[in-house]
Symmetry: C2
Subunit: 476 residues, 2 copies
């Protein structure tokens, strides 16, 4: 395709995207397709003939759009918001169009340095001191794996240089809570620690935050038993109920024992743009690493996860490679981001952060976040005030965790019957296409997460959802 | 930003990209900036005021473009081609614009199913049987880590479920060659095997391909010593000299000993679109996993790495998570790609493969690859025919590995003097901005890689490069 053909097709595509964004609120929130429906519309073999661009856009409409669950829909309250602000989309388009390759500073100096600049801007905007150095990963899950590896290597005096983890004299252990994201347990498995060396530390029964005394006890007990504590992972805004672990008290435990402390703020990092929320990660300066996702509530299009560390020397020592074909005269004077994560090649992701901040502006982003906090507060208060509904956890940010306690006739339910009622009403809403909510479990029982924070979700949408929720528990 | 504001800005950006692509051949190939030059043009803190889109494009031109090493420049012969075909860029733009989130089939059925479709198309196009199942990773480096983890878990009977790698009874070992990409040694370290358990198997002295007898001997010797061989990594098109390991003979060794065989075809996978190249990975059907990068020579914009396995059950068993908040009624009937790799969330990357194949067409892509093979052959023959130049390795694909043997006056050089001459003439070309080449070492001595394969590189560019090379060895 020539640049001129791209020009024509690109204009048509921009219009297609603008139209999609304008009209997506007219579509069902969750895709209404069955497994295989999308796949079956594609030929079994690659097209032999080329397709004209307008025909391809028609195929996109016919084959793909019905199979989209619209994350940008104002009635999407599932999982966590995955905003893709159009300002950041422009930055991502620039990145694709330029087609650069980040494998060393030399391969694209601007890619490296704009990443340094934007990571530093976000550091300041979230109130972190200049002791922190950040980079962009695809997801917080990948950052979690990287930090598990760094903690493992630090605790084992760089076992990778010898016989690896299989030759360490004492087993390394990891600590988190049942509220932690699934990526923590996965990272523990992938980094080779093994399930037997992962401790689920007790939590406060209401806020579900890690109990620092229980953590200290678990670590000390492992040390007495000849094990070697390597890593503590705290959650700042857990996926289930947005629980926050008390970082400052936990850091007192980890510092004294030389254990790496990682803060998973995948969701709540966005909230740290608001000074009134920063108490929620009080003590973060004492952690060793912290990761959060601008591609969630903040709204920089996926994939954009930030991970900050204080000790870049250890980080690089764990992850560096320096083959002859990647060496250049700039080595030693520049950042080589390939040594900060798993992949060698990287996209120019910093452009989307830069465009997002420059075009939307930090004040508008902060106002939107405050709007969402206010909407979530309204819903939480409304739900609490209703005798048939309960909040299953205190509201900490923008995800309201609810349960309807009665059957459709108002009779109280519990146990399996309550579970089945919960899954039933949420399924009814999701099947209707009018809104989307995702359920989760707490202490083995289902509840429903209402995660407020899509860019286009206004109070009227939250009110409409509440009306839908009340109707859905009655239609049996 | 509203959809209408996006429409205006998007059109301007499409034109900017088209202009950039049209005119990039007028710019120096390698960025001519010094460390810090790009960073210093940005304010130290995030912009407080918003910027109009045309002003932002001006900043992009002024601050960023001088810091780009133009991978799409027809005179770029460095590393491996990192083509970003405009057809695939359109697919990537669609992905960003839609803003979907792949964390489960339900979160975007189309994202999952179009990935299944396009991976299967590419499977067929590269001549793999339907025993293989693919998914898209960011890079082959990440796929390498995943396969190292899968091999580790398979060989240890899923040690992750118990005490992890630190509790395995005998040390697991890995085999590759000195020619393998740096990501292999990195994956071995990250997966916890340790440097002491990585064996560099002897190679054929000319083609630098792994010696299957030496591999068998290394494995058997480790078994006799109580170790447990877990993984063999072969290269199909190594980064230095595009060496190919003899997969079929190696598979005879690994099959008999139950060792996982991974084929790193990051570069050469593209060549498998051409039936005349497939002998180069003869035996690939007998491997356990194979990865290659459409984002290299094939030309689907970064990041797009394919990884195929035959045994998806083991893959999923190593990588799966199933927290309550990701469960849905479709579970069990659909593919959950989160269980095929490290990150939880994924972009809709399949769109760029679909757009690329549909708009450019497979025949045009194949013709371009054949053009590049032909141009590389021409250069290799030309270099060989010149008494002062040598090919340091036989040409296998599109990367010509050369050395100029004399000083500027024609006197023969060797050892350190030859190394310094080599680095000198290549630096002179790169500094000039007229072309870009990347040097590498073989047996500890420098040579220069001329990697032909940028989408816009025609014979005339290769001829111009040869002229430049001859001039550069004379200007001392």
């Amino acid at each position: 395709m020539t640049p001129d053909e791209f020009r024509d097709a690109g204009h048509a595509l921009i219009d297609w995207i603008a139209d999609y964004r304008e009209h997506l609120n007219e579509m069902p929130v969750r895709a209404q397709v069955s497994p295989g429906d999308v796949r079956n519309q594609f030929p079994a073999t690659a097209p032999q003939d080329t397709v004209a661009f307008d025909a391809l856009l028609q195929q996109l409409d016919q084959r793909v759009v019905p199979g989209l669950t619209h994350m940008q829909h104002p009635m999407h309250f599932g999982w966590f918001p995955s905003n893709a602000s159009l300002a950041s989309v422009l930055g991502d388009i620039a990145s694709s169009g330029i087609g650069s390759l980040g494998i060393s500073w030399e391969s694209c100096p601007a890619l490296t340095e704009v990443e340094e600049v934007t990571c530093d801007w976000l550091r300041q905007l979230t109130g972190l001191s200049d002791a922190w150095h950040g980079s962009i990963h695809d997801t917080a899950s990948s950052a979690m794996v990287v930090m598990a590896l760094v903690a493992r290597e630090r605790a084992s005096d760089f076992c990778k240089l010898r016989g690896g983890l299989q030759a360490t004299p004492s087993a390394l252990t990891v600590y988190t809570t049942e509220q932690a994201h699934s990526s923590v347990a996965k990272a523990v498995q992938l980094a080779g620690f093994g399930d037997a060396n992962l401790r689920m530390v007790d939590c406060d029964p209401v806020h579900r935050s890690m109990d620092p005394a229980a953590l200290a006890e678990a670590i000390d007990s492992d040390i007495r038993n000849g094990l070697q504590p390597a890593l503590v992972v705290t959650s700042s805004g857990s996926t289930g109920i947005t629980a926050f672990d008390p970082i400052d008290d936990i850091a007192t435990v980890t510092e004294a024992r030389g254990v790496w402390l990682h803060v998973d703020a995948a969701m709540a990092g966005s909230a740290m743009l608001l000074s009134e929320c920063r108490h929620l990660w009080h003590g973060v300066e004492r952690a060793d690493s912290v990761a959060w996702n601008p591609h969630k509530w903040f709204g920089t299009v996926l994939d954009c996860a930030l991970c900050y560390v204080r000790d870049t020397e250890t980080l690089v020592r764990v992850l560096s490679t320096n083959p002859s074909y990647l060496q250049s005269g700039a080595d030693g004077q520049v950042t080589q981001y390939r040594d900060w994560g798993i992949p060698l090649g990287r996209r120019f992701r910093a452009l989307k952060l830069w465009f997002h901040l420059s075009l939307d502006g930090i004040e508008a982003i902060q106002s939107r976040l405050r709007r969402d906090l206010d909407n979530a507060r309204w819903l939480a208060e409304t739900v609490s005030a209703h005798p048939d509904w309960e909040l299953v956890a205190p509201l900490t940010l923008q995800t309201v965790c609810v349960r309807h306690l009665g059957d459709h006739a108002g009779a109280p339910l519990s146990g399996d019957a309550l579970d089945s009622h919960t899954l039933d009403w949420v399924r009814r809403i999701n099947d209707s296409g009018q809104a989307f909510l995702s359920p989760a479990t707490l202490d083995g029982r289902w509840f429903v997460r209402v995660s407020v924070g899509v860019e286009r979700t206004e109070r009227e949408h939250v009110e409409a959802l509440w009306t839908l929720m009340q109707a859905s528990v009655q239609d049996a």
